[in-house]
Assembly symmetry: D2
Homo-oligomer: 331 residues x 4
Amino acid sequence: MKKINIGIIGLGRIGQIHFSNLKYCIPNANLVMVADPQKAGEFNGVPIGTAEEVINHEKIEAVVICSPTDTHSVYIEKCALAGKDIFCEKPHDLSLERVVCTLESVKKAEVKLMLGFNRRFDGNFKKIQQLVAQNKIGDPTILKITSRDPGPPPLEYLKSSGGMFMDMSIHDFDMARFIMGKEVEKVYASAGVFSSNDVKEAGDIDTAIITLTFIDGSMAVIDNCRKAVYGYDQRLEVFGNKGMAQIDNNKHDTHLFFDQSGSHGALPLDFFMDRYVDSYKNEMERFVEALCKDEPVPVNGQDGLEAMMIALAANLSVAEGRPVMLSEIMK
Amino acid sequence: MKKINIGIIGLGRIGQIHFSNLKYCIPNANLVMVADPQKAGEFNGVPIGTAEEVINHEKIEAVVICSPTDTHSVYIEKCALAGKDIFCEKPHDLSLERVVCTLESVKKAEVKLMLGFNRRFDGNFKKIQQLVAQNKIGDPTILKITSRDPGPPPLEYLKSSGGMFMDMSIHDFDMARFIMGKEVEKVYASAGVFSSNDVKEAGDIDTAIITLTFIDGSMAVIDNCRKAVYGYDQRLEVFGNKGMAQIDNNKHDTHLFFDQSGSHGALPLDFFMDRYVDSYKNEMERFVEALCKDEPVPVNGQDGLEAMMIALAANLSVAEGRPVMLSEIMK
Amino acid sequence: MKKINIGIIGLGRIGQIHFSNLKYCIPNANLVMVADPQKAGEFNGVPIGTAEEVINHEKIEAVVICSPTDTHSVYIEKCALAGKDIFCEKPHDLSLERVVCTLESVKKAEVKLMLGFNRRFDGNFKKIQQLVAQNKIGDPTILKITSRDPGPPPLEYLKSSGGMFMDMSIHDFDMARFIMGKEVEKVYASAGVFSSNDVKEAGDIDTAIITLTFIDGSMAVIDNCRKAVYGYDQRLEVFGNKGMAQIDNNKHDTHLFFDQSGSHGALPLDFFMDRYVDSYKNEMERFVEALCKDEPVPVNGQDGLEAMMIALAANLSVAEGRPVMLSEIMK
Amino acid sequence: MKKINIGIIGLGRIGQIHFSNLKYCIPNANLVMVADPQKAGEFNGVPIGTAEEVINHEKIEAVVICSPTDTHSVYIEKCALAGKDIFCEKPHDLSLERVVCTLESVKKAEVKLMLGFNRRFDGNFKKIQQLVAQNKIGDPTILKITSRDPGPPPLEYLKSSGGMFMDMSIHDFDMARFIMGKEVEKVYASAGVFSSNDVKEAGDIDTAIITLTFIDGSMAVIDNCRKAVYGYDQRLEVFGNKGMAQIDNNKHDTHLFFDQSGSHGALPLDFFMDRYVDSYKNEMERFVEALCKDEPVPVNGQDGLEAMMIALAANLSVAEGRPVMLSEIMK
């Protein structure tokens, strides 16, 4: 069995998930070294070095980047220079210019770059994408995504997040492209602040409805909220001339309790760490598999760029109160 | 359009349902006269007579009997003698001997007799029966019926009801035969009193699990309770070598409400008057249709007799703590 | 019991529903005369006259108008002049000017005018409205309505329908106001023709996503399609800071069938005649009740006007590719 | 952190699940040695010895027994003699006498013995047990368990399995005691062979309905089948005077697809290896935790004995066609 030697930069919440999956669950991955400024010595039996040491480690073939967003582009460029394949958490970068530059470097270096849109690897979403790909839906004309968080992140995070569209909705923008299999042409976003003073203080929004128009005129609508009191809400529905498919939210259990006031069921899974636990594992498996077989990665740099442009168009749409063409964003 | 001239005996709760359906919803029924000792003059435009006058009215071709159970056999016999077709509410009678006698008279008079097992005409149950009849389930080997009332009837009613098996479970016994399309051979019933002092005082039971074994060895299990705090509960599931089908309980509405404690749905429809409103109309339509076309009625006297024998076997099973063969009942 | 003497103008599909409900199900309604150019003599025991005769019949206190849309305004004005209370099917009229004029006449004559937005009287939608009114949802910030027809109407109908927004979506616009209990300020609609050549020939659209912004910044999104192959689809979801509520579509039955390929459930109820059968009865009951008690009708002329303005704004939004303020419509 | 040194005997399907959980997911477990006659050297980094070497390894404190059923009693006794705590897969043994003897040895040696009724640690079943324990259901009077396998095991396995009640239903018998929190007094079982020639050849049954009566008269009914074409079916419902709770079967995903023939959902999870993957992990965690804290194990030898007696009573009930008291089994 071919094994890929891998390094990780960043052992925060997501970094540790990738660590655990690569170390315990993916047989053809071999963790060689990890980097995290908060940690020293070794982490669960893997030596800790600096980011530079990981990138330039002669045995390491691929680097998983889970460091803060503002370091992504730098590390990607260094990995490209060092000829290493790359997995990078979303978002690639908050600056469109930097993303474009970085993608150039990646292209020139002929290394692979996979973006961490993990939801594509969730069994539920994948099922819907397959139904579309198998032409069960016919031509998909309406896509509806509901994506609501249980609560907003802390103020500090909000301030450097790039805004709700770039930080949170970007997953839904990628999902829209993934399910529909077409490119977005126009974006109209309507938004407000209803649920959180922190969000207001950060100058951000917390609630939005975004309409995407694809190049063939078909449409998607996404509703987002930073705070759903009943918990994490991740649903989707796609409609076409041959049928409609939807996925329901994932719950803690399947119980129903009936008493004098009606029926009562379980809460949704708490947040992305619970809901998407399998998708994180699946995406890393697919990354390692693509490297082993020298195949294209399933989510590439262009996918990251497209989702980012939709987020920027949504920002502009809210600012100017009008639909925005994606062509306006990429001048 | 052929019209059938009909009389009704008994304008209690069920009698009024049949009245309303026959008068307003079934175009080929013509209500000629009704009888009810509590009423005089006319009822919603239909003249009121005595039971005798209804039975012997020269224009009346068919009589719908909704009077108290202990009068059923007498009225059936009189109708048979008068050559009138008969619809009779369940149970036919509490005495097996009287039922057998009455069926003889009906047979001799060559009139039609339909028993009021209205649930056969409920859209949900009918759908399951059709799936079985269309061989979608394959050979049905397990049938499960849940049938729970929201609360027990008053003590007075309980005392003259013939017991839970004869009064309430008899619908489920008929349903078991209807869905499985086979005859029952053996009955084992386990029962207790858990929910009501009235039931105890009446010497009855209020909770039971009854296992029916059919002549080919396939099985049905029925669970009954006189009191479900969450309301009327009517569900069914049938399993065979090609598949399984089930119906869920009917609710007031389809709403789901989600808050910090989970999801919350509507209560079931209150009781048989709500849940089976359509089935009462459908059964009467089918009765009138059978008369118009001179076809066999969809639920006949033998169906009533079979369900009754199962109820008697269940009584004996509880009394003696052993499975009882149906052949023991009909010596 | 007070009885209201009522006349009906128009005995098409909807007119006959109202006829049947008023005649057989609403005890304090008394049908005096009906009018329909295709019919003569009497209809199920009620004499047939001309529209003029109905409006001017000295016994008739209220008129139910179910004639073609282009006659609504004329009949409303005549009823107002004759001092008769009015129930009018939607849409009131295709011309905003005429609607405004007519409402003036109604106001001057001090008669009641109720518009036939029957969905407000559907048990499912009503339940959601109650949850909002009881503050279970908190401040509602996102409303989502799915409203899809099983198939488009015939070309002839399409040509004179006023377009999808005025003919079909208008129910959803009214629903949005009903559930949210607020006025709409801005409309953005994205639309296309995907499902039907007739629709294209009529110069109409068949698929749309409409975003409504209310005066407080909260939002609604409606997705419409003239043709859903799986049948009539009527769902709704409202989200606020205290919770979320949704209603599912209504199906023929509750059965689920499980075989080697998965689970399989029933189709939705066929179309509005099945799905909204109770709501038609309930709305007529509420109309008659409002007359009996001399109370305001639950859906008045202003409600019709508001929904119409949203439809006109949606038309303009599609034509000009921009969000449209309602204030632009009512100059 | 206290760590428990553990050995495993048997690395078949279940043994490998326990291996993987103990090695990778339970931090306070330390795998010292494993035994399997088919394997030599080391298994994923853990040295392989004989069963004797594992039991008598001086560092090993607890032994997990996953070897064939006919070796369980011998190994348990040896572990007890060696003073090791024990986790043993179900069934403990096919001979009641041997089980009783073994439990004596365990008691005398004052070691812990936990039986592998893993379903108690499934999140869905646990939720129902908690609702009962929290008195949300009130006094539970009816328990219904549906437990159907996707297909029968091979003929060879069937021949030495001890029969369906001992091999398969035993999980449901334990579940009934777990949920109800009471002891079973009487068993009535009705059974047949409908789905498999192998089963017939093995002299076994493949379909059964078993009614359990508890010491307070409350009841449970279990329906079992060795072959459900739609897959593994594990559901449960408990009813009491305060409410009812149920769990639905677990499916591959939450998708629903709607087309012209209705709605279509996913298949159930394939079999126990998928459905109970978490429960295997949870039970091992609880075993290790009980050892660390020196607490009683959550499922002990007596639990195994009780479930076994119910299975024997069910066998006798089918053989003699009558309800059997548990007191008849344990003479």
